[in-house]
């Protein structure tokens, strides 16, 4: 069988192993090539809508609130998710309270004044109330962060 291609082997061996088949026994075609890519500007959307969708913020982030509560007397906690696409940088961000930023996927950099802090996957960094900072996504994946903002009332 030297020189015989795998396809020929399959045909020969399959023929030997096959049997008389009724019309209902016909094998279904497998059409699993990649589907054509949908254009980025496509507007033929389906009816699907997320239950808690992100919204675009002026600072360049996509943002949503996932939890809000008044906690200890005089404090309020606000849990948000942020997303930043690959290669993008936010404009200046300030938060109304002290915050922790946790990187849930992707990686990036946080810059505040002259200071630069890496944001690898799993990072958990703090920023102060009214501290101005920017975030850059320098990775290949969408940078997803969970942000816990604690404010006084």
């Amino acid at each position: 069988m030297r020189g015989m291609t795998p396809l020929v082997c399959v045909i020969l061996l399959f023929s030997a192993a096959s049997c008389n088949r009724r019309p209902t026994d016909k094998r279904v075609d497998i059409k699993t090539a990649l589907l054509p890519e949908i254009a980025a500007d496509d507007k033929a959307f389906s009816a699907y809508q997320p239950t808690n969708a992100y919204a675009a913020s002026a600072n360049g982030l996509l943002e949503r609130t996932v939890f809000q509560a008044d906690t200890a007397p005089g404090t309020h906690i606000d849990v948000r998710d942020w997303k930043l696409p690959p290669g993008k940088q936010t404009s200046a961000i300030t938060l109304p309270g002290a915050a922790f930023i946790e990187v849930r996927s992707g990686s990036g950099t946080l810059m505040s004044g002259a200071q630069t802090q890496q944001l690898p996957l799993g990072a958990f960094v703090s920023v102060s109330q009214d501290q101005s900072f920017t975030i850059t996504n320098s990775g290949q994946l969408v940078l997803t962060m969970r942000v816990y903002v604690v404010t006084g009332r």
Binding site: M4, P6, D25, I30, D42, A44, S46, Y54, A56
Partner: protein, 536 residues
Amino acid sequence: MLTRKCARAAINAGLLAGLLVATGCSTIPNWSQFRYSSIRQADQYFESELNNPSKVSTLHPGWSAPFHPSNATWFTSSPIVYNGMLYIGNGNGFFYAINISTGAQVWQYPPAGGKALVSKFTCNPSSYGIASSAAITTIGSTDAVIFGAPDQSSGKHLGDGHLFALNAASGALIWESPALAQVTGTTMGSTSELHEQLGYSAPLVWNGAVYIGTADHCDDPIQQGKIMAVDVATGNLKSGFSFSATPTRGGGVWSSPSAYDSWLFISTGNTRIGASPQPSPNYGLSMLSLDGNTGAVVWQHQPVPFSLDDDPDWSATPAVTWPTSCANMIVATEKDGWTWGVNETSTSSAASVAWAFPPGPWSTGGFKPTDGTVHGDTDYKRPGTSWGSVFAGTMGGYDTTTNLTAGYPRLTALNICGSDTQRVRWLKDIPATSGPTYDLGPPTVTGGMFFVGTAGGHVVAVADPSIQAALGSRCEDPDISNSLCTKAGHRLVPDPWIKDVALPGGSNDGIFGEPVIVNGKIYVATWAGNVYMLQP
């Protein structure tokens, strides 16, 4: 001498021929074991009306009434269909054969008046009666049906797990294996008793042996996970085969073994419990390839290290993807929501990972204690279906790290052979799901038409866009609105056409197992103890 390529092709041809024989090419297409065949693709290869969306849109219950045995509890096992008969075990401890033309019972085992195959250790639906789906084989010249079940006739008489082989035509017992899973007491949490069970693991008949996994009753406490093998002709333990996931506790095999070539593929459960040290070796929380003759580990993929083990059992049965436009892979979703594609021909003891979904640095080195990922007792437990180069199932998706449980009611189809950026083929949020867990059963497919049962008592058909135009586009990240999708760095993907069929039993009659596809009809079993046939 065969060249390597030709030998490989011969294996594929043999597999195809085997599938044809196993699925009954001499009569009509069958569904002769859990997930259709030994490679557990859940892909009905034979053409039928169910490949035609216009026919699928007319699906409705067939038989005049569902099959509902007396004293039925839930069906957590899935039906199998072979040569005009449907076989399934119930939580009441009886195994049934049903005429698929009429829905009428042909026989039951044990026969009327016999002692039910139930356990005295009862803590979840896998514990009570028969949760193991069956498999068809031939013993001598007799068609036989094999399943796992508890039996109080052995050991401490509490319900050790045994395999049973019955004459498929008459229900007569051909053999009963020795106890493969032992119960030596019923004290929850006891570490001095054995609390083993066969549970949901379905037998695999392969190369003259029957393989099945052992796990535990409710992790109370976790037991030593094993693959047990018996001789298909006699039911006696297979000589020379042994596999334990750990030398002590953990690594339960909740899933059903799959096979390709000479290799078995299994997934295993957690090993970390309390302050116990990591067992060595630790084959828990892993996808594994085993030598089918000896049980020796060929390769292991353990993405979640012991230190992050918060009980993300790998309990979905691995699917062997074949034929694909790339290399064969073993694909399954772990309970934490991540889906993994591992090269079937990994040659070193560490598996060769092809991809992870969602993608990330874990794709190459697994998860790290510093990466912030969470791996707990969530419910991505169902096997997916593999159709050519497409794998579809319930999984975490792009929102795994921020909205972990949101994927329960969703089917996601992945391009097995695409790049990470091409991974998602389509997404579908399935209607008529309910409850916090087990929203969807394991999907099945035929010719690009996917079927899935829901906890709300519906059977839903989803058409791959290659056979039926989609309803429009949606974002591949389900938490991002369609209009913001590409600005967020994601792709728009098709939102497929569906047909939603409500079963007459309503939302109290949910579906746990797989929709079985045979000769243009669908067979499903339900929580309320009904078996339905649907037809165009």
